[in-house]
């Protein structure tokens, strides 16, 4: 019996020593972790043909190079397009993690369905910076390494409405084209599942009402952020309500440009069209006097925030002070009104 007990004691002793050794070596491993000289960022975009997202993509690529040059840390970007499929995006996230990405920047396809992405990232310990399409709060609260970069949709909509209010106060005849005392408008909406679409629609109109602009809604429709869909809708409205539409309020620039395409085809170029995003084609249209105005987020700051957040997560550093996060999670990008000079200074 004694002999057996001795063997048991020795065995337990050996196991305990092994555990202690393992603990010591793993702790040393943490201390010896070398400073990172390169970071790898996996970026998944909800679609590749969205003008605003493409603008953001290009600026992020430029910012990454700037960051690489200034910090000496090699930045590798893996950029993938999810082609509007959440399933594809989930697979891309899996691939990013298996390729050893230090951080993920995700522009979700379905903002209500990000739980799988978060699960995978949490399991792998890879922080996630969401952008442009805001995941629901319950998902964002699941982990302290989840961030969101975007714009305050209500602020965007208020600025969009304000641009018409200001113009109406200065020159009512530039907005109320037929002089009947009422501004008749149509509304082009983005995806119904996108949080910004609903808020932009509601608050742009509310701001017009608050600003005492007499408005009347003729009709509205969902064009899913797309130029071609907006163009088709506008063409239909122009034939259904001839000589009635005075203002087109669009949830983004691409749809505003689609409306302009239809207006040009119908030779109704005096109708005012307003957009949101400040995309490159949108700004060109403002310059040419085709688009009355747009609300533009400061894309430089937007992309800087995405990259700085991603880099600081990857390197385990604090985020630079200039990027203050609401609730330690959300970064809201500043916005401004850009309006055509022809209307502004007639």
């Amino acid at each position: 019996m004694n002999w057996n007990r001795n063997i048991l004691k020795r065995t337990v002793g050996i196991i305990m020593s092994c555990v202690v050794c393992l603990l010591i070596t793993s702790c040393q491993g943490v201390h010896r972790e070398e400073e990172k000289t390169s970071i790898r960022i996996g970026i998944s975009l909800y679609r590749g043909d969205d003008t605003f997202i493409n603008n953001i993509r290009s600026i992020i690529e430029e910012k990454a190079k700037e960051y690489e040059r200034e910090s000496g840390i090699k930045v590798t970007l893996d950029i993938q397009e999810a082609k509007g499929s959440q399933n594809t995006q989930n697979n891309q996230v899996e691939r990013f993690i298996s390729l050893g990405c230090d951080v993920l920047c995700i522009n979700p396809v379905d903002r209500m369905d990000t739980s799988l992405i978060i699960d995978k990232a949490m399991t792998a310990g890879v922080p996630v910076v969401f952008f442009n399409r805001q995941p629901v709060e319950e998902d964002m609260n699941r982990w302290d390494k989840l961030y969101y970069v975007g714009v305050d949709a209500k602020e965007t909509a208020v600025l969009q409405g304000q641009m018409v209010v200001d113009l109406y106060r200065k020159q009512p005849e530039a907005v109320d084209l037929n002089g009947d005392g009422v501004v008749s408008y149509v509304m082009l909406e983005g995806e119904s599942s996108h949080q910004d679409s609903l808020i932009r629609t509601e608050w742009s109109v509310q701001t017009l009402k608050n600003g005492s602009v007499p408005i009347e809604r003729i009709t509205g429709g969902i064009a899913n952020w797309e130029r071609s869909q907006a163009s088709a809708l506008m063409e239909q409205w122009l034939s259904e309500y001839p000589d009635t539409i005075e203002l087109v309020i669009s949830n983004n620039d691409d749809m505003a440009l689609g409306a302009i395409d239809a207006l040009e085809r119908a030779q109704k170029e005096d109708v005012n069209v307003i957009g949101i995003d400040g995309t490159t084609p949108g700004l060109e249209a403002i310059e040419n006097g085709k688009l009355l105005g747009t609300v533009s987020s400061n894309k430089e700051v937007y992309c800087d925030a995405i990259l700085e957040l991603a880099a600081s997560c990857a390197l385990g550093e604090e985020l630079p002070e200039e990027y203050s996060l609401t609730d330690n999670t959300y970064f809201w990008t500043p916005q401004e009104i850009l309006i055509t000079k022809i209307k502004e200074n007639p």
């Binding site: 390169s38 043909d49 690529e61 430029e62 190079k65 590798t76 060109e284 310059e287």
Partner: protein, 320 residues
């Protein structure tokens, strides 16, 4: 009480469980064949990758098929040969298994002793170098486009070539050589407008009348200039009315949109999806020690009406 045979059975059962566990969850008994992931770096000659969107799709397709991890790297300065060499060295040191390079200075890369295979995406059919070559004959492409212009446009209309005033890439240079050669052969001539003279050129066109005989033909040296020129035409009816045709090369989305809107008359393109695919395939072949045969890409002339042609549609708007 469990008998002796019962104990033996339990032990056998436990041993079986352990063996099954080892078989399913570890490599101890059945060793899964290790699939090596090839690290391939693609270093282009430009600061932006906008002109490489279809190329990227082909590259990603091949990466998934051939088990490769492919990174596309751009330069800080366009056509900076020294920086490209530095990036080649950096990627080699960082453990890339193979490189795909759109060379700024082809000779410089060819002369350098490389420890890993380098696939060159070359702009002309000169002597092959590197571990593999994928070739786009830009000279031939220029010739092809020039002949299409000569066929489509009235004989008397002057042809202006918009070209970069800074350093020319091999692609631009060979493309223009092809254009000039074809015009000379047909007894025509082209006039060069440098980028820094473009504003004056557009102003001159604004004053030009809409008479058919006074109209001009414009040919852009590269996709960037073509996009800018189409943008000018889109923004000014007077300039647009003075131009009887705008031509160039490239397959970016803005170029295809301008072609669809009729602002660009015709473009010469290569199948860039296949180009991306073949380059990664060549790199993997080189890594696996297979022999390499230079792949020469064909060029195609595309007009607005061809955009809906299924064969071209597949090439211009590839789905991964």
């Amino acid at each position: 009480m469990i008998g002796k045979s019962g104990r033996v059975l339990i032990v056998v059962y436990i041993v079986c469980l352990v063996v099954l566990f080892l078989m399913c969850s570890t490599d101890l008994i059945i060793r899964e064949p290790e699939r090596e992931i090839y690290q391939i770096a693609v270093i282009i000659e430009d600061v932006r990758s906008d002109n490489y969107s279809n190329f990227r799709k082909g590259m990603d397709q091949a990466a998934a098929e051939f088990n490769a991890d492919v990174q596309l790297i751009t330069l800080y300065e366009k056509l900076d040969a020294q920086e490209q060499m530095e990036l080649i060295n950096r990627e080699q040191q960082d453990g890339a298994d193979a490189l795909i390079v759109v060379p700024v200075e082809e000779e410089q890369i060819a002369e350098r002793q490389m420890t890993i295979p380098v696939i060159l995406l070359r702009a002309g059919v000169a002597e092959a170098s590197g571990a593999g070559n994928v070739i786009i004959d830009y000279e031939k492409m220029g010739e092809r486009l020039a002949r299409e212009i000569l066929e489509e446009q009235p004989v008397g209309n002057p042809v202006y070539v918009l070209r970069d005033s800074a350093v020319q890439s091999d692609m631009d240079r060979l493309f223009l050589e092809g254009v000039k050669a074809a015009f000379v052969e047909e007894g025509g001539r082209v006039q060069m407008i440098m980028r820094n003279e473009e504003d004056r050129f557009w102003m001159m066109l604004e004053k030009t009348g809409m008479d058919e005989s006074e109209k001009v033909v414009i040919l852009a040296e590269n996709p960037e200039i073509l996009t800018e020129a189409a943008g000018v035409l889109a923004g000014s009816e007077a300039v647009s009315a003075a131009v009887s045709g705008l031509y160039g090369r490239g397959t970016t989305i803005p170029i295809l949109n301008y072609l669809d809107r009729g602002l660009i008359t015709g473009i010469c393109v290569t199948d860039e999806f296949s180009l991306g695919y073949y380059s990664v395939r060549e790199a993997v072949r080189a890594l696996e020690g297979a022999g390499s045969v230079p792949t020469v890409m064909e060029s195609h002339y595309i007009k607005k009406e061809d955009l809906r042609n299924p064969a071209y549609e597949k090439m211009l708007f590839p789905i991964e």
